[in-house]
Amino acid sequence: MASEVKLPRLGQGMESGTVTKWLKNEGDAVAKGEPLYEIDTDKVTQEVESDFAGVLLKIALREGEAPVGQTIAFIGEPGEEVAAPPEPEPEPAPQPEKVSDTAVSDTPVAAPPAPATSNGRVKASPLARRLARERGIDIATLRGTGPDGRIVARDVEGAQAAPAAPAAVPSGDIESIPLTNIRKTIARRLTAAWQAPVFQLTVTADMTRANELVARARELNPDVRITVTDLLAKVCAQALMRHRDVNVQYSEDALLRFPNANIGIAVAAPQGLIVPVVRGVERLSLAEVAVARGDIVGRARDNKLTAQDLEDGTFTISNLGMFGIEQFVAVLNPPQAAILAVGATVDTPVARDGAVEIRPLLTLTLTVDHRAVDGAEGADFLRTVKTFVEDPALAL
């Protein structure tokens, strides 16, 4: 049998090499030690000498890369059999590690009941504890599905989604959906709000300059998505600083007048209506408001708000414009004294200087708690808001 010329290991760490040039042709005689071919390694191109004497019967790899040890040629006596050049062994496809198939269920009810307490201490991850704290859930009542029966975030999240056993569905079409904690909270608070004596004021504002400002601001801040809501929040904040008596919270004993305008943004989150707060809006630039608003709205939708995000609001903006609603009255968000309902901006024909023009008009409706703020004050505030919206430069 002919001898096989294999690609040699020429240096530490060399795993493969590239044959670039053969110095002998098939049929040539080769002496032992004679340079046979050239090889390119990572570091250098060099000649490789033949280990065998004889005739170069066959070149299996003319040019190209091969792993160390692969047969690239055959040397022997003329007429000797040459084994077919072996195919490089296909690498076995890497098998993913077989891990035991533990089904992970989202509802803690189905999970193996491992006691989560040890020595009276509840085993729970820091995240789980925080979520439980924020949602008012007693963590000790939960079962943990984490390692060693640790309560983890999904256990807390699941607890809210499915309290106790799902109610049996009565026969027929009616589905009974148990009230979630959030729904109960909303119901409770808004019932209280409905009992407050309120009045409502409406204005329409020409959005021409406001729209230009938002467009320009977007150009200047390409990384931030600035919206009309941001502009309105900013404008309201400035207005609140000029009408400090509107920037109040109502309580039985006293009106709490806040030094900063902490604007709540009403968000329709999957779990229900929630109003996270952007603090100190009067101090923020429009871009900063947009960043803060984007952050809390995002977190509201992901259900990752903290208790702090919901506290200390002094005023709320509720925008249903994106649903095409032209005008609506928002329910007060106690203990805040006022809430602004924002509709859609509609191109409307208006009379101006004796001619008819099409202008983008926005309807703003302010709901005010009469216990805290009187009609004239409320009207004055709303007029300021309209003035600022129509000419934002005046707010500076």
């Binding site: 530490q12 760490g13 990572d42 570091k43 250098v44 993913p96 590690e97 891990v99 533990t102 992970v104 991850s125 820091p126 995240l127 789980a128 504890r129 925080r130 599905t145 984490g146 390692p147 983890v152 975030a153």
Partner: protein, 325 residues
């Protein structure tokens, strides 16, 4: 974009820096005609000549120390320490001198020195030619430390290191030298203290350096098949460290794994873990896992070496532990 090997990227970074500024020169053992024990400096002698590409005797103290002196006297030297293990021989100069001249002089001096070295396991180098010692260097105030994992990163960070007025230790890894990667046509300097998101994910963040970045990518692919979405962040520089990005990522995913080839115990990963637990405590849904080498010198026999060094499977196992799957 052109594709080059990590080795070529280092060479290119050095060459471009030397072309642009006469003050840059390189010295080290066997870097001239031989082109360096890892072939990194090949061709540089031909282009720049022996005055700027200097073979040194085997004297790590003097190599680094002369670099310090030349740097203090206005040059921008690059010093190559052949094996990371030999850094130990020059530690007095790095730690007592280079790191402290600026401070002890009350701000009068700068030491714009770059120390390049390579280390790590692979090909049975034995215990004295395989160490990963970044944890020692990040512990010294006054030093900056980088550990790039890709051709683009090593070229960009090397440029920044050379032009930084502080002493910088830049770690390369021998298994990374042949790794190919895309680099921008024009060299883009990469600032220190800026981590890179290698892969986006939502279930767990793996913070990895050096060769573990690549092993983690493998592990992440496997994890994906099991429905685990892995985010990989490469800090790229260990000092300064982009704590902000690391913490933001963990706050997003709620789980973390820190992976390096160096010995796990008391390693760089321990510091990252401390930072994460401190700044993202309420966001952690699982204990932070660490992946690294076992607590032994590196053994010679290949089966033992493989056992000690961390692989993709180890990262995958750590990922699984965090998600409880």
């Amino acid at each position: 974009m052109p594709e080059v090997t990590y080795r070529e990227a280092v060479r290119d970074g050095i060459a471009q820096a030397m072309r642009a500024d006469d003050r840059v020169f390189i010295m080290g053992e066997d870097i001239a005609e031989m082109g360096g024990s890892m072939g990194v400096t090949q061709g540089l002698l031909d282009e720049f000549g022996p005055d700027r590409v200097r073979n040194t005797p085997i004297s790590e103290m003097a190599i680094v120390g002369a670099g310090i002196g030349a740097a203090m006297a206005g040059m921008r030297p690059i010093v190559e320490i052949m094996y990371e293990d030999f850094l130990t021989l020059s530690l007095e100069q790095i730690v007592n001198q280079a790191a402290k001249h600026r401070y002890m002089s009350g701000g009068q001096l700068t030491v714009p020195l770059t120390i390049r070295t390579q280390g790590g396991a692979g090909w049975s180098p034995g215990a004295q030619h395989a160490q990963q010692l970044e944890a020692w260097l990040v512990h010294v105030p006054g030093l900056k430390v980088a550990y790039p994992s890709t051709p683009e990163d090593v070229r960009g960070l090397l440029w920044t290191a050379i032009h930084d007025d502080n002493p910088v230790v830049l770690f390369e890894h021998r298994l990374l030298y042949p790794v190919k990667g895309e680099v921008p046509e024009q060299l883009e300097p990469i600032p220190f203290g800026r981590a890179r998101v290698v892969r986006e994910g939502t279930d767990v963040t793996v913070i990895a350096i050096g060769p573990l970045v690549h092993r983690t990518l493998e592990a992440a692919k496997q994890a994906e098949e099991d429905g685990i979405s892995v985010e990989i962040v490469d800090p790229r520089t260990l000092q300064p460290l982009d704590e902000e990005m690391l913490v933001a990522s963990v706050k997003k995913t709620n789980r973390a794994v820190v992976a390096h080839e160096a010995v796990t115990r008391m390693g760089f990963g321990a510091e990252v873990t401390a930072v994460l637990q401190h700044q993202a405590f309420d966001y952690l849904d699982a204990p932070i896992e660490r992946v690294g080498a076992k607590f032994t010198p590196l053994p010679f026999a290949p089966v033992m070496e493989q056992y000690v060094v961390p692989h993709a499977e180890d990262v995958l196992a750590a990922i699984r532990r965090t998600v409880g799957k």
